[in-house]
């Protein structure tokens, strides 16, 4: 096992390449790799494919960057089940890019995408599922419907998803890349194991001995991980179990910068948001610094309450 600690800047520049298929961890606005996306936007990216089941702010930031600075950031294709923000509203960038025909996309379901990552993680070329046997997903995706050779009943085969790089935020990791996830695992283990490279940010970077004190807590094993970076609040303003609940105001504020563009409005508000929050700062820590301490503490306490946990 080797020491995989590095800066976020170094990790992104080493492992995210033009044209990459990027697997995004988390679920909607839970444990999304927000800090990694900020750094990708600062460095710029080209012709990416984004792969995820249900996502919120991570693609919203990457796509917003493409809308604000198309010279600097571009997404070519998206393979997804859902892009939105549940209680916080629709994905404005999704509407903008799709309705203008600016990106390719392939619709799947949450289980379809999760199973595709799982197949990739298992080293298999495909996985059978029942999901897309009827309806139009099978018509707009690479699904193949075959007759099961054992039962002779129809079953859908989905191609594995093996991203070039996985972006994952977790609660705790050691320097070798062993990771503990609290609350939903989402499909983070599957995406990490399926991907050629994995960048992990973590709320806590702890000793190997502490991390493995209950080995069954480890959801992503070290061989699947290439870079480990300690980034507290790395999924903010989304939520991260045991650490902080959603900052819905910040999510809505960002969505509010994109919304006018869906109806043909200018990119000025969005550009200003990026200039202030991403291009205008050196690191994600500087972005977090912009929030009031009161609000950060309130979001931490709300989460502690939901988890029924004493500190």
């Amino acid at each position: 096992m080797k020491d995989k600690r590095m800066t976020l800047k170094e990790a992104v520049s080493r492992f995210v390449k033009p044209g990459d298929n990027v697997g995004i961890g988390g679920f909607v606005n839970i444990r999304q790799p927000i800090a990694i996306c900020h750094e990708m936007i600062r460095q710029g990216f080209k012709d990416l494919t984004l792969s995820f089941q249900s996502a919120g702010m991570a693609p919203e930031l990457l796509a917003g960057a493409m809308m604000a600075r198309p010279d600097h950031c571009s997404i070519k294709r998206i393979e997804l089940a859902y892009w939105g923000h549940e209680a916080f509203g629709l994905a404005q960038a999704w509407r903008y890019l799709a309705e203008r025909g600016m990106i390719e996309f392939e619709d799947w379901s949450n289980y379809n995408m999760s199973a595709r990552f799982k197949a990739g993680a298992m080293g298999l070329p495909f996985i059978p599922t029942r999901g897309p046997l009827a309806g139009d997903i099978k018509n707009t995706s690479r699904t193949k419907i075959v007759d099961c050779p054992f039962t002779n009943r129809p079953i859908a085969l989905l191609p594995a998803s093996n991203p070039n790089v996985a972006l994952i935020h977790v609660q705790a990791a050691d320097m070798y890349g062993n990771c503990i996830i609290r609350g939903t695992d989402a499909t983070c283990a599957e995406i990490s194991m399926a991907a050629a490279h994995t960048i992990v940010t973590c709320e806590q970077l702890v000793s190997h001995e502490l991390l493995v004190s209950n080995p069954k807590d480890i959801m992503i094993p070290f061989p699947a991980v290439d870079a480990v970076i300690h980034v507290p609040f790395g999924a903010y303003p989304g939520a991260c179990r045991r650490h902080y609940y959603f900052n819905g105001d910040a999510i809505r504020e960002y969505l509010g910068c994109i919304a006018p563009m869906v109806k043909g409005g200018s990119a000025d508000g969005l550009k200003a948001w990026f200039d202030e929050n991403i291009f205008g700062v050196e690191t994600f820590e500087d972005y977090i610094e912009k929030f009031s301490t009161k609000k950060l503490i309130a979001d931490q306490l709300a989460e502690a309450y939901h988890c029924e946990r004493l500190a």
């Binding site: 679920f27 909607v28 606005n29 839970i30 089941q53 089940a81 859902y82 892009w83 939105g84 549940e86 209680a87 916080f88 999704w94 509407r95 799709a98 309705e99 203008r100 025909g101 390719e104 619709d107 379901s109 949450n110 289980y111 379809n112 999760s114 199973a115 799982k118 599922t129 029942r130 999901g131 897309p132 046997l133 009827a134 309806g135 139009d136 997903i137 018509n139 707009t140 419907i145 129809p154 079953i155 859908a156 609350g183 939903t184 695992d185 989402a186 499909t187 983070c188 283990a189 599957e190 939520a239 179990r241 609940y245 959603f246 819905g248 989460e303 309450y305 939901h306 988890c307 029924e308």
Partner: protein
């Protein structure tokens, strides 16, 4: 049991949804109004309801109130099983979910749902008129739950003979055994709740059928707002307006912040 006089369209949907849920059943709950209805059911007649959320939680007691995401931390505390998405959907594909409870933007007479796009299909798939969020877990619930309960806002433009896109298959073309022939499992759509009433799907034809009209609606007014011919159950009744207590529960206990149940403008 005083009847409320200022309930909203979303509030009667929530009350209707809660009442359809049976105690002690395993219900795979989609995001939005299904979450609100499920919590209301738990707080009223179905304390033993076992919700499943697609991010991975099975059977949480929901003691901390309404989750605002199906992956919300509130769904995990005290849950009986927590893996990730594959865990929840594998359990459902195995046949453990009695009900799937899902929303959609467009529905046809066989209970097929669209939550993907509005526009010309297939030509306009890559550049739709309106791009919706996408399936999420809805199409998986539709393919594998024993029965599904659907919620769709009732609007003539959204109740169509032909959908822009079939995201979550219901009774397909209504032909006998269509779901089983396609390889799916479960009996398909069981109830549809709209802003105008409650519907089932007639057993032989699998066509949408009015069961209950909401206050202020009639069979005729509902038919007028529907883009295809509805069947009418022999004993259509009016669904009772929410009680003051139900509305209070929704506004003060279940969704006090209006996360999903939007407040009427003052």
């Amino acid at each position: 049991m005083t009847v409320s006089t200022d309930y909203t369209a979303q509030e009667i949907i929530v009350v209707a949804g809660a009442k359809i849920l049976e105690d002690n059943k395993i219900v795979f709950v989609g995001t939005g109004l299904p979450m609100v209805a499920s919590l209301l059911a738990v707080l009223t007649h179905a304390p033993g309801l076992i919700p499943v959320f697609e991010a991975g939680a099975v059977g949480p007691p929901l003691k901390h109130g309404l989750p605002i995401s199906v992956g919300d931390s509130k769904t995990f505390t005290g849950a009986s099983y927590v893996k990730g998405l594959n865990g929840a959907f594998e359990l459902t594909q195995r046949g453990f979910a009695d009900f799937g409870f899902i929303g959609g933007a467009e529905v046809d007479m066989y209970g097929n749902l669209n939550s993907t796009m509005m526009g010309d299909f297939p030509a306009g798939y890559g550049k739709p008129k309106v791009r919706l969020p996408g399936s999420g877990g809805a199409s998986d619930m539709a393919a594998s739950c024993e029965r599904t309960i659907l919620i769709v806002p009732h609007d003539k433009k959204k109740f169509n003979q032909k959908l822009s896109y079939v995201t979550s298959p219901g009774h397909l073309d209504g032909s006998p055994g269509a779901r089983q022939k396609a390889g799916m499992q479960g009996k398909g759509p069981y109830r549809l709740i709209t802003t105008r009433g409650i519907f089932d799907f007639e057993e032989k034809s699998k066509r949408m059928r009015i069961l209950h009209t909401f206050p202020g609606e009639t069979v005729e007014s509902i038919q007028e707002n529907t883009g295809f011919e509805l069947l009418v159950a022999p004993d259509v009744t009016q669904f009772a307006a929410p009680t003051v207590e139900e509305v209070r529960l929704i506004r003060e206990v279940v969704d006090p912040n209006g996360a999903f149940v939007k407040r009427a403008a003052k």
